[in-house]
């Protein structure tokens, strides 16, 4: 099968990959790049466990073919932590008991991060819209929303570290 050459930036690092035309971004991340924080829950884009940020948008990586991503930038949960410092959202998930089994957590964090990158002060309705594609069976979503709100409620100054962070 013909391979496709793709240049991809993942969590700030550049990769040149040769992939088959059917390879899903999810598999590229998990199998090739060993970024196993990205989870597979359903394989059809319904559960959101595989959510990553692709060129600024939260996407289900099980629905995206890597072969189409030349020149793209991907951020996974592993890319949220910078030089040992947690993203404010990660810290908030810890502080607000937003984690139980943890399987939805990486995808949930990426959906929330994509939202805050565009809209640093979303209201509860906007938060719900951002994570409505992320299923969680443990938490009932309440403490996840509280965690995101705690970051969303903060002034630009406090969140500034992240927002100015350029992975390149």
């Amino acid at each position: 099968m013909k391979k496709i050459k793709v240049n991809l930036t993942v969590n700030g690092k550049e990769f040149t990959l040769e992939v088959g035309p059917k390879e899903r971004l999810l598999d590229t991340l998990r199998e090739r790049l060993k970024l196993t924080g990205v989870k597979e829950g359903c394989g059809i884009g319904e559960c959101g466990a595989c959510t990553v940020i692709l060129n600024g948008e939260a996407v289900n990586s099980c629905l995206v073919l890597t072969g189409q991503l030349d020149g793209s930038e991907v951020i996974t949960v592993e890319g949220l932590e910078v030089e040992g410092r947690l993203d404010p959202l990660q810290q908030a998930f810890i502080d607000h008991h937003a984690v139980q089994c943890g399987f939805c957590t990486p995808g949930m964090l990426m959906s929330a991060r994509a939202l805050l990158d565009k809209n640093p002060h979303p209201n509860r309705e906007e938060i719900k819209r951002a994570i409505e594609g992320n299923l969680c069976r443990c938490t009932g979503y309440q403490q996840i929303i509280e965690a995101i709100e705690s970051v969303a409620g903060k002034g630009e100054e406090e969140g500034a570290d992240y927002f100015e962070w350029d992975p390149d």
Binding site: K39, I44, E46, R137, Y141, I145
Partner: protein, 774 residues
């Protein structure tokens, strides 16, 4: 009573790994030389297997092994009744039965090989309705058994005839519930590694109950238990679901691993998971209740039939819990219940959070509201007239006298927090427009831990390193519920150290004794006591050592020592709280090590005695109970049948909240799972086939379905529980469906007696699919 580490909302000790993506779940593991295993499943729910030809599959490049039932040393396993087959040999009993397994160098090769296995089936008629299975002349699902009955639990209290003779009002109603999928976000995974560190086979993966899996694998392989080692990994949810299905998967992977002498990884896709894994039992329940005009219950007669599907699995125990809870938390002098499980060719059913209680609570708490309507009473007042108090006698004849029966307190707290009385009155008035509101409640008592199901004991190990850091092992497993944190809090409380000095080890069956399964909301209660016992043993050793070293110098005895803030103190002076430091915990550990003192201990805890008479259903089935009340407020669009749950108030007596934030997390999650059970979730089956095998067809609640949830934690410490703690995991989801159904009735005047309360049932009174249960 004041605490340093328990009764506090400390952060989860496993949260950091989970928010950073470092936490390794089964699917994230890889081993050198690892192969990928895949299962070929039957084409028909019920069929005779005439021939299996694996030749072409074996020849496919990359394929290392293809196994069928012939290769299974002992093909039957099960926790209670051993009749589940690892691989179907002669006959398939349900649509998820495996027929062959393949191990190959890539997943693709394994999948391709499945297509090359030629199986000749003779399709057979099946039984897909327990009512059919019950008939005298019904075909037998398992030919070697005398009939289709898995179990019958009778319960007899008082004289049912006399009871109904005294009733002014008698109601007879029938209720049904559906198949429900656990929907843990992580599909099942197992990796079997052969000949690793002296064990014959080591199993890693998403294992809820390591000992059950170890037992099953050893039994299937026909080897001794110590040859099979099970090590748990981070588990992406379970809710009772990763038990027998994992045992089966582990046995298959182990067979492939031993055949090929290479590690074998098996990962289910979501479709495979839903197709094969057991579900929550559907029940059909006939309730007859008699009451006086004043609203005093006098008699209750119940017949409940559970669909066990193809295998016994946990049906005998699931239905047993139903027996104990079937009449609800009400004093009823005359009771007759008969609870049955029957084999069919449907997907098999087993443990799921709630475990036989959500079904009977839906029926009995709907019935209480129907009775209130019949009597012209407020449903709350009818309940308050009949609920259990201290010294009440339950349907199984148990006097509730060894713990605080807090039901009234719990109900009144929920009533207050939900503003129930005002809203009930308001929604009773006529409402204009298409959207109508209603409020409804449900209450329960729930036996803690296993009860008379099985031996109820657990182990813990505390191992203090010479720098004062600590390894904590438990025989019960983290499923996501927060067990690691709770147990670490208990160890930290006893030893006076910080949680960050505690390293919680995953369950390893070769290290820690069989502690039974992580089920029945028993972990905090049983496992927590085991951890406390281990900690107290080590603490006694330390205290004795410190006395020997410093007792004369400072003039104290071992019993005077105070362990806190990572230090060891003695009381000094007259004022309470005046203390003097003797030594830091860290320094103590080094000294003890150098003095040759063992700073490790096993803790063991066995639950108090219980009793049960299978013939009469009488005895003391559980040693303690928890009490809960949930109140639902809904808005129903009478034009579309759509229900919006606006608010759920959930009051639960947990004895003592070891970690209140964690208890709230259990409540939020359980309420949402209960909401899914109530209004949206249903595994659709037709003649044994399953229609919805992924989350596009099987819908679980999203953040959009979330109501306002008000958790109310009630604390009445139990004499047995660690620091008084009891249970919270399961009580949270058993109440929602009845509370919501009762609220929908108030809003619409339509009483729906079948779950889920979907659009059709709300709008036209019956389901448009599946025979249209009303």
């Amino acid at each position: 009573m004041s605490f340093n580490k328990v009764n506090k909302s400390v952060k989860r000790i496993d949260a950091y790994e989970k928010v950073t993506g470092r936490a390794k779940y089964g699917a994230d593991l890889k081993f050198a030389g690892m192969l990928y295993g895949k299962v070929l499943r039957t084409k028909y729910p019920h069929a005779r297997i005439l021939k299996i030809d694996i030749k072409k599959a074996l020849e496919y490049p990359g394929v290392e092994a293809v196994l069928t039932a012939r290769d299974v040393p002992n093909n039957q396993f099960g926790v209670i009744i051993r009749n589940q087959q690892v691989l179907a040999g002669k006959e398939t009993f349900y649509i998820g039965d495996g027929v062959a397994v393949v191990a190959a160098r890539t997943e693709e090769a394994a999948e391709r090989a499945l297509e090359l296995i030629e199986v000749k089936y003779q399709e057979l008629p099946g039984i897909y309705d327990p009512e059919e299975a019950m008939k005298e002349d019904a075909d037998r699902v398992h030919k070697e058994l005398p009939g289709n009955q898995v179990i019958h639990h009778p319960l007899r209290k008082g004289d049912i005839e006399e009871g109904f003779a005294r009733a002014d009002v008698i109601l007879e109603r029938e209720y049904t519930t559906q198949f429900v999928e656990h929907s843990y976000l992580e599909p099942e995974v197992v990796i079997a590694v052969p000949h690793e560190q002296n064990s014959l086979v080591t199993i890693y993966g998403s294992v809820q109950n390591p000992y059950a899996t170890q037992n099953a694998v050893a039994s299937v392989l026909q080897v001794e238990l110590s040859r099979v080692r099970v090590i748990q990994n981070h588990l992406g949810g379970s809710f009772g679901g990763k038990d027998e299905v994992i045992s089966s998967m582990a046995a298959r992977a182990a067979l492939l691993a031993l055949k090929t002498n290479r590690p074998v990884k098996m990962v289910n896709s979501r479709d495979e998971s839903i197709l094969e894994s057991y579900k929550r039992h559907p029940y059909r329940m006939k309730y007859k209740v008699g009451a006086t005009r004043e609203g005093k219950l006098v008699a209750m007669e119940i017949k409940a039939v559970a669909d066990s599907g193809a295998y016994a699995c946990q049906t005998p125990f699931v239905t047993w819990r139903s027996v104990v809870q079937a009449t609800g938390p009400y004093e009823v002098p005359h009771v007759k219940t008969d609870t049955y499980g029957y084999y069919t060719n449907n997907i098999y059913t087993g443990a799921m959070r709630g475990y036989g209680s959500p079904q009977v609570i839906f029926a009995q708490e709907s019935l209480m509201d129907e009775l209130a309507t019949e009597l012209g009473m407020d449903p709350l007042e009818l309940r308050l007239q009949n609920i259990y108090h201290n010294n009440s006698i339950t349907a199984s004849g148990q006097r509730l006298d060894n713990h605080k029966v807090s039901l009234k307190e719990v109900i009144l707290k929920a009533v207050e927090a939900s503003n129930y009385r005002e809203k009930y009155a308001e929604y009773n008035k006529s409402q204009s427009g298409d959207k109508k509101r209603g409020i409804g409640m449900a209450i329960s008592f729930r036996g803690c831990s296993l009860g008379a199901e099985a031996v109820d004991a657990a182990a813990a190990i505390i191992h203090i390193q010479k720098d004062g850091s600590l390894d904590l092992y438990s025989g019960l497993a983290e499923n996501g519920q927060g067990l690691k944190t709770i147990f670490a809090q208990i160890a930290a409380e006893e030893l006076g150290i910080d949680l960050d000095r505690i390293n919680f080890m995953e369950v390893d069956t070769s290290i820690i004794p069989d502690s039974g399964s992580t089920v029945a909301s028993r972990s905090t209660l049983i496992g927590g006591n085991a951890v406390r016992n281990a900690a107290r043993k080590v603490k006694a050793i330390i205290a004795e050592f410190i006395e020997e070293e410093y007792g004369d110098e400072f003039g104290f005895k071992a019993k005077d020592l105070i362990f806190k803030d990572n230090r060891i103190y003695v009381a000094e002076g007259k004022d309470v709280g005046d203390i003097k430091e003797i030594i830091s915990f860290k320094e103590m550990a080094g000294k003890a090590y150098n003095a040759g003192v063992l700073l490790s201990a096993y803790g063991w805890y066995k639950a108090p005695e219980i009793s049960w008479d299978e013939e009469t259903g009488q005895g003391n089935p559980y040693f303690t109970y928890v009490y809960g009340c949930q109140i639902a407020e809904v808005e129903v669009d009478t034009g579309t049948g759509e229900i919006e749950v606006l608010k759920m108030t959930a009051a639960h007596d947990v004895g003592r909240a070891i970690n209140p934030a964690n208890v709230k997390g259990q409540i939020y999650g359980g309420v949402m799972m209960g909401l899914g059970y109530a209004i949206m979730e249903e595994l659709e089956t037709e003649e044994g086939y399953i229609r919805n095998t992924n989350f596009d067809g099987y819908l679980i609640p999203t953040v959009r379905d979330m109501p306002e949830i008000i958790p109310v934690i009630v604390e009445n410490p139990d004499p047995v529980g660690p620091y008084g703690a009891k249970s919270i995991g399961e009580p949270t989801l058993e109440l929602g469906s009845a509370a919501i159904a009762n609220a929908v009735f108030q809003a619409t005047g339509r009483r729906i007696r079948s779950l889920p309360l979907n659009l059709e049932r709300v709008l036209i009174g019956h389901s448009l699919s599946k025979g249209g249960n009303r």
